[in-house]
């Protein structure tokens, strides 16, 4: 008989969730965003949206995953109804599609750790652009490191929740230690000229810039991407929660831990750059994401206590970055695997097939369209196009989560009106419908913290407004600043995004009818309260407990014996 899988304890869930959230976005994108958006000015919207967008969405995800006890496909099938299982498929697809090229990027970080530890970036006259170009234009090397990442990720998730928990625990502890070491060396460097320029810049607010919409939009996007809020990771990890696990406190802990790491990484990177670079802002904000692999090695090579200091700093930083990338890869692959396991497929086979698919589909991002920009720096155009197409698709996952919440509230209010236990009209809806999800799935009595009306206001009012603002600003910026933006053959245009999104969504909507003909097995821990009968998809006869699943082989053998 199959058994449910769960984390050993609360810290297991926290480390796994923090691992899912902490990635390259915290360590290399965050310092760049701080630099480009007025230093301390950026921290205000970034912190604001942690509490207004990210944490509320993570609370919703934890609540949904904990109740459904299935991955994203099963969760949307249960919470939104059979007709909307495709929303879970979209969520899983976007995450997996990003995983295809994220594995390549993660491979770069491992390569740079290797370069750092061997001193290849520290010597006199090292041209970091040449090193970068030579690596990126060497398909064998890029594929080799991509393969290492995929293999390590598969090894980490092979045996399920307990293995994921252990790996995340060690990787996160190591990452904290490495980042603190890097921070210490950076602050030492910055102090050598008698002032902490980088730290001062990072925490100084330019109030004129605070009134610029772009700063707020960038703060929102950074918070959303960095926390992976509304992207399905937390639904997946909530499947492994123990029966009385808190959702709210865990969500706050995860979000705050994610932001803590960003601050440490931001201080480390900015202090080092401000210490040695005559024009630090141009360094931090200029160029592509390859800045991490061009500017930072040059900066770290000037660390104190030569040669030990530069070696530690280089190797430590890139190892921390590799760990961050790996923990995010783990959650990306697990999100996909969970859906296969829920639908009756063997875990180990699902892990293997997903890993092979991620490797193979990531190969174009690894080796195709490697070009040189106007300043002679290599960049992977195919990878950047993939990011351009799928990056913002993640936001729809959050919209689907909100839709499920709104739908549940509306249906519950409507049924109570028909029973005569709720008032009709808008005031009745405000009284029962708006708080329905929170009352039934969040404030369940398991939490150390109870969630109040503020959460309803954020999900019902703030979320749709912010979603609209993000999408409109993204497309408006693209339309205003991209040549031939409507040309379908333009890989940086709008049409290619809409085409891909449209085809994938259409395909998933069509596939939905076949998807819901398959049984779904819920990963329910012993004694967990998992009544789903009140949900739109809760009375689906094909949804059952994984412990009731009988192996196909076993059933066949039993049937033969009976016959």
């Amino acid at each position: 008989m199959a058994e449910s899988d769960q984390f050993n304890g609360r810290l297991g869930l926290i480390f796994a969730s923090i691992g899912a959230a902490i990635g390259t976005g915290n360590i290399w994108r965050f310092p760049r965003m701080v630099g480009a958006n007025g230093g301390g000015t950026f921290l205000i919207p970034w912190l604001f949206f942690l509490f207004i967008w990210s944490i509320p969405l993570v609370i919703a995800e934890y609540a949904m995953g904990k109740r459904s006890r299935t991955g994203t496909v099963g969760t949307f099938r249960i919470f939104a109804g059979k007709r909307f299982a495709w929303m879970g498929l979209w969520t899983a697809w976007i995450s997996t599609a990003i995983g295809f090229y994220y594995a390549v990027v993660s491979g770069w970080t491992v390569k740079y750790f290797q370069l750092g530890i061997t001193g290849a970036l520290n010597g006199e006259g090292v041209d970091t652009t040449e090193v970068w170009n030579a690596f990126l234009q060497n398909p064998g090397q890029v594929i080799f490191f991509q393969f290492i990442i995929v293999a390590l990720t598969l090894g980490a998730i092979w045996k399920g929740a307990k293995a994921i928990e252990k790996v995340n625990f060690y990787l996160m502890i190591s990452l904290f230690a490495l980042l603190f070491l890097t921070l210490f060396l950076s602050l030492w460097m910055d102090l050598e000229d008698g002032s902490l320029d980088g730290a001062m810049f990072m925490f100084t607010v330019d109030f004129d810039m605070l009134s610029e919409p772009e700063v707020w939009i960038n703060g929102l996007s950074q918070s959303a991407w960095s926390c992976s809020a509304g992207m399905g990771m937390c639904i997946t990890y909530a499947v492994y929660m123990s029966k009385d696990e808190d959702t709210v406190l865990n969500a706050f802990t995860m979000g705050l831990a994610n932001n803590s790491i960003s601050i440490i990484a931001g201080l480390a990177v900015l202090s080092a750059i401000f210490a040695v670079n005559p024009d630090p802002l141009a360094t931090v904000t200029g160029g592509s994401s390859a800045i991490t692999f061009l500017a930072l090695p040059e900066v770290f090579a000037k660390a104190p206590m030569d040669p030990i200091g530069p070696l530690f700093m280089m190797a430590g930083f890139f190892l921390a970055l590799s760990f961050a990338a790996m923990t995010s890869m783990i959650s990306t692959v697990e999100l996909c695997v969970r859906n296969f396991v829920d639908h009756g497929y063997d875990r180990e086979k699902s892990v293997f097939i997903t890993g092979v698919a991620i490797f193979l589909f990531g190969l174009p991002s690894a080796i195709m369209w490697i070009k040189l920009d106007s300043s002679g720096v290599a960049f992977p155009e195919f990878l950047e196009v993939q990011d351009h197409i799928w990056g913002y698709g993640l936001m729809f996952s959050g919209l689907f989560i909100a839709f499920s919440i709104w739908k549940y509230g509306y249906l519950k209010w409507k049924s109570q009106v028909e029973e005569g236990t709720a008032a009709p009209g808008f005031s009745g809806y405000l009284g029962i419908g708006v708080s329905a999800f929170r009352d039934d799935f969040i404030n369940t009595g398991d939490n150390d913290l109870e969630v109040g009306r503020w959460w309803d206001i954020l999900i019902y009012i703030a979320f749709p407004i912010l979603f609209a603002v993000l999408m409109i600003s993204y497309f408006a910026d693209m339309i205003a600043n991209t040549e031939n933006v409507w040309d379908p053959s333009n890989p940086k245009g709008v049409t290619i995004i809409l085409l891909f999104w449209g085809v994938v969504a259409g395909l998933f909507m069509w596939f939905n009818r076949y998807l819901v003909q398959r049984p779904v097995y819920r990963n329910i821990p012993e004694g967990a309260d998992v009544d789903i009968s009140m949900l739109p998809g809760g009375s689906d006869e094909l949804i059952s407990d994984i412990r009731d699943r009988v192996d196909r082989i076993g059933k066949t053998i039993d049937a033969e014996i009976v016959d």
Binding site: L47, I263, P278, L449
Partner: protein
């Protein structure tokens, strides 16, 4: 004599007429990128919110005395 000050951002670059005899003296100077007091205040606010909030959340999560949990109360 005349003096010229230029900044790295190169907003207004002045050039002296060619053919003259000039002595060039470079003094590297970089203005501070912010205010020490303001940045310290902001650091306390941000770090207090993030690290302080995280510390409090971990403390509640890992179990304190019953009265502390009661005081954590409703969010």
């Amino acid at each position: 004599y005349k003096a010229q000050v230029s900044t790295l951002s190169g907003a207004d670059f002045y050039q002296y007429p060619a053919g003259g005899e000039y002595h060039k003296l470079s003094i590297s100077y970089r203005a501070s990128f912010g205010s020490a007091f303001g940045s310290l205040f902001m650091f306390v606010v941000v770090a207090g919110t993030v690290w302080g909030g995280l510390g409090w959340a971990l403390r509640v999560m890992l179990g304190g005395p019953e009265d502390e949990l009661a005081q954590a109360g409703k969010a």
